[in-house]
């Protein structure tokens, strides 16, 4: 029988009186030694004196466990320490995207040089969408860069992020803004049997594409691969073949109907630069048609 620990509940929170009682109960059950709850007993005098220390240990252990359990003070400190000072791609990426306002980030590095591309919440940018105007955000970004970028790495980019460290030394970094690229898709499908009735092919293709986009096109620098969009041939009974026509635009102001067919590339991959993010609008910018 344990006084301090319980395999089901962990550390038991007990006061001095409870500890002494537990010990007496232990003696009674295990050794048939019956000691009354009486200050006259030398056993109680000794057990109570020890229980003072034991209560302190219980309290300290409980505090310790609360600090190291997930969400606890110490746990958080370790988490910060590891995540913010680690310089793997994943750690830097995570540190950057955890800053409020950064929606996407991509880091391209070669020996001694790195490019950081960020896609930000537009409220942080000026009217031309080329400069960061929010200084709070800049300060947070500087701190993250200061703690994650190894010394000796030169950052390239067109936006300066300056700051002073604790030694009052000026440290400046550079980042670039990422670019949103809007994907316009035209899909022409062919059916197996001309006279069979197929229901909801359009919406089923949209569902499949939504899944594919959510799985495959989640971040910057991912190029457009037309074969991703052949999945309906496999998944929808009756579709014999597909043709994928795609074009990228810098904004989404053009209507798909107004784009000339010659602009679309048929069944071709489209390269995407590391700073570019593909944005699909499967409601408005996807046109599905049947072909004979």
């Amino acid at each position: 029988m344990s006084i301090l620990f319980d395999s089901d509940f962990g550390i038991l929170k007990q006061n001095i009186k409870q500890i002494v009682e537990t010990k007496r109960e232990n003696l009674r059950n295990m050794h048939r030694i019956v000691i009354n709850d009486d200050p006259t007993s030398i056993y109680n005098i000794i057990a109570t004196s020890l229980a003072i220390i034991e209560e302190q240990i219980i309290n300290e252990v409980n505090i310790l466990f609360s600090k190291i359990s997930p969400g606890g003070e110490y746990f958080k400190a370790i988490e910060d320490h590891i995540s913010i000072k680690s310089t793997t791609f994943n750690a830097v990426h995570k540190a950057l995207t955890s800053i409020d306002g950064i929606e996407y980030a991509n880091i391209i590095s070669t020996a001694g040089k790195a490019n950081i591309y960020l896609i930000l919440n537009e409220s942080l940018l000026d009217s031309t969408k080329t400069n960061i105007i929010n200084s709070d955000f800049k300060a947070k970004l500087w701190e993250t860069l200061y703690k994650t970028i190894p010394s000796g790495t030169i950052l390239e980019g067109n936006i300066n992020i300056d700051g002073l460290n604790q030694q009052n030394q000026l440290k400046s970094y550079k980042v670039s803004l990422g670019v949103r690229k809007y994907v316009y898709l035209k899909v022409k499908y062919q059916l197996d049997l001309q006279n069979h009735i197929y229901l909801n092919i359009d919406s089923r293709i949209r569902d499949i594409y939504t899944r594919i986009v959510n799985n495959n096109y989640t971040n910057m620098g991912i190029k457009f691969e037309y074969q991703d969009f052949f999945a309906p041939v496999n998944e929808i009974k009756g579709i014999k073949g597909l043709k994928i026509f795609a074009v990228l635009k810098d904004d989404d102001k053009t209507q798909i109907a107004n784009i000339n067919d010659s602009e679309f590339k048929e069944n071709q991959d489209i390269d995407v630069k590391p700073e570019e993010l593909l944005i699909f609008n499967l409601a408005d910018n996807l046109f599905i048609d049947i072909t004979s």
Binding site: I16, K17, I33, I46
Partner: protein
Amino acid sequence: MDIRIDNDFNLAFNSNLQLVDSIEEQKQRLFIFLKTPKGSLFYDPQWGLDYSHVVKLIKINSLAQIKTYLFNIIQDLKIDIVNLDVKIQSNTISIVFHFPNDTLNMEVKL
């Protein structure tokens, strides 16, 4: 039942702690009480011999009141004694508690 101690409050050892029971335990209980000044146990400050009270009683040489005080203690501690002798000589009070087949002696000097 309790752990056995000797007259100097040392724990009695014989490869393991020794226990004390029945009359022996009652005697030990009384002994501990008489050796514990009231207020010295932090977890029960009312418990222990009220020396200043006893000293007052000695000063006024009130044998009967001392006896009453001691009998009250004995009753509280649930101790079965046969008899109780109290003598006051000059500045010393000597008390003898008679247990069945045993005695406990105590002297208090002013």
